[in-house]
């Protein structure tokens, strides 16, 4: 045995693979990993009006923080603001974003499951891709226009209100349809529906149909079979759709802005405010990093619960 020759083989396949992936990987490294690292670093720096002062501090997260102006080379204090976790507004927005996206996730996934189940179990194989295509189409049509349509539908002078008044069911416009958390939930649940259906469908498709027959054969009712065989096997798909809906919705910007009104604003709007209007990059970065932290924590919690669930099912 010659270790060099051995290394040469391993080197060649590994080297080919790495060379092949390198353009994409380098792109992601430069334009994804590096920027994320950069805002992470920013979140510990000091705001100096239109520039970042590389003085490390934690106050963007906790406590009162000062921003500075540099006039003729002299740093002068310009403003005082609260760090993310000490600012009541930021905390309220993060909490609201979390609650809204959890409600959206639960609604979307629960509503999606029967659809995925129907397409997987009751549609003939040749027609499955047609159904999936029908379900995915709305997802690909302009997101902005779809959100805007909900505003038009739910507004006081909108389709639902004028329609219902025309029919004589109501006499005054219902005002609680738009510009609150409800309208945000409805719009987001509509926008992310196909995202929720596909992973569940894929998981259901993977289930060996003879397992279900075996369940029935062993004397279980259809419902018991569903609970003891189908659901546990579909769980990985349910978890992926939970994550795939939860993660982008918590950071959604357009929907809360257009249909949320003042009480439907979410954390993305605050990030935008800090970056674009206030020009306070360290604070904006701290908010972004904090919400990413929440996303990661909740996602890990889901994965952990799923593992517990599957274990409990086996026992």
């Amino acid at each position: 045995m010659k270790p060099t020759a051995r290394g040469r083989f391993r080197g060649s396949e590994a080297a080919n693979g790495l060379a092949m992936i390198s353009p994409t990987a380098i792109y992601a490294l430069l334009l994804l990993a590096a920027p994320l690292a950069m805002i992470f670093a920013y979140s510990f720096m000091t705001d100096g009006y239109l520039q970042i002062i590389p003085r490390l501090q934690l106050c963007n997260y906790f406590g009162p923080c000062h921003s500075y102006k540099i006039v003729d080379g002299v740093m002068t204090e310009a403003q005082t603001y609260n760090g993310v976790w000490t600012d009541p507004l930021a905390k309220a927005l993060m909490l609201r974003s979390l609650i809204i996206s959890l409600v959206v996730t639960a609604t979307t996934v629960l509503l999606a499951f029967p659809v995925a189940y129907f397409v997987s179990f009751h549609v003939s194989p040749s027609k499955k891709s047609l159904w999936l295509f029908l379900i995915t189409i709305p997802f690909w049509t302009s997101y902005l226009i779809r959100v805007f349509l909900w505003k038009v539908i739910l507004g006081t002078g909108g389709v639902i209100n004028t329609g219902l008044m025309e029919l004589g069911i109501i006499h005054e416009p219902i005002s609680w349809l738009l510009y609150n958390a409800n309208s945000v939930v409805i719009t987001l649940a509509h926008a992310y529906a196909p995202f929720a259906i596909l992973p569940i469908f894929v998981a259901l498709e993977k289930i060996d149909r003879s397992l279900l027959e075996a369940g029935r054969d062993l004397g279980e009712s259809p419902f018991m079979t569903f609970e003891r065989v189908t659901l546990p096997l579909a769980m990985p798909g349910v978890i992926s759709s939970v994550l795939i809906v939860f993660i982008p919705t918590i950071g959604d910007y357009v929907t809360p802005l257009l249909v949320g009104g003042p009480e439907g604003r979410m954390v993305a709007n605050l990030i935008e405010l800090s970056y674009k209007k206030l020009d306070n990059y360290p604070l904006g970065s701290a908010i972004a990093i904090s919400s990413m932290g929440i996303v990661v924590a909740v996602s890990l919690l889901f994965l952990f619960l799923n593992r517990r669930f599957l274990k409990g099912n086996k026992a």
Binding site: N16, P23, T141, G158, N161, L198, G251, A268, I271, S291
Partner: protein, 268 residues
């Protein structure tokens, strides 16, 4: 009837999915500035107005430049990554692929501000180019998802057979692999084009003084009198998206049929 209540439920669900989109053409042709019942009669004047907006035309031109560049770049990067991940084993594969696919599950606003921070940090002026950089990042994971399926259904011995019959790795790629994954490539180009054309957040943060179509539309939301024009524009965009998607789906299916694979459905 097959499926019973599940079928009824699914159909109701589809109605919910399509209801807002169905309203688009109804009010785009409605002869009134407010979007409300009752309808006021048919008109095509909102569509005609689209021709009189130079700002819209500029935004459209920008969006087309961005979408064409992003789809080509993202698909190229997608070919490299999906080929590498389906064909080779190498250290750090899971980590690298995870990083490349990350934009799929990251809130877009975070990506946008991070890129904005970097661009301003290195002093690169915001322009269409910076939007393209951002869109490529967002589109590449979708391209990889489509192309991996195409590369996966390729039997590796096809490539070996070509070597065995005297071809070099490059000519084998050209004669065997490329024709077989071409439908996947076309499908990826169309899908990433659609995504880029529709993308708002990245463009909103990275376009600087330029407008893209979604940024222009977003700006118009502030003017209630322009709502019917936006609906007319939306109608055209939705029709365009559906046409692009149907074409993409056609090519994706043809690719699967060509390599003798099984249709697992869906883009994701």
């Amino acid at each position: 009837m097959k499926g019973g209540w599940f079928r009824v439920y699914t159909l109701a669900y589809l109605v919910f999915l399509y209801a807002p989109i169905a309203l688009l053409p109804i009010f785009a042709f409605n002869n009134a500035t407010t979007v409300a019942f009752p309808l006021e009669g048919f008109t095509a004047k909102w569509f005609a107005k689209l021709w009189e907006e130079p700002e819209l035309h500029r935004a459209l031109r920008n969006s087309l430049i961005i979408a064409c560049s992003s789809s080509v770049l993202a698909t190229t990067l997608g070919i490299f990554a999906s080929r590498a991940s389906t064909r080779y084993r190498f250290p750090g594969k899971a980590g690298l692929m995870g990083m490349i696919m990350l934009p799929l599950v990251l809130p877009e606003i975070i990506l946008a501000v991070a890129l904005l921070a970097v661009m301003l940090g290195i002093g690169m002026p915001l322009s269409l180019f910076t939007v393209i950089l951002g869109h490529v990042l967002v589109c590449t994971p979708f391209s990889i998802a489509i192309l991996s399926a195409a590369f996966q259904s390729l039997d590796q011995s096809l490539e070996e057979a070509a070597y065995d019959l005297g071809e070099t790795p490059i000519s084998a790629f050209r004669l065997i692999i490329l024709p077989l994954v071409m439908p996947g490539i076309i499908s990826s180009l169309l899908i990433t084009f659609t995504i880029s054309l529709d993308e708002f957040i990245m463009a909103f943060f990275l376009a600087g003084n330029e407008n893209t179509l979604p940024v222009y539309i977003f700006g118009q939301f502030r003017f209630p009198q322009n709502v019917p024009v936006i609906l007319a524009l939306g109608t055209i965009l939705v029709c365009l998206s559906i046409a692009l998607l149907a074409t993409a789906e056609y090519f994706r299916r043809r690719g699967i049929a060509k390599t003798g694979g099984k249709d697992t459905g869906g883009f994701l």
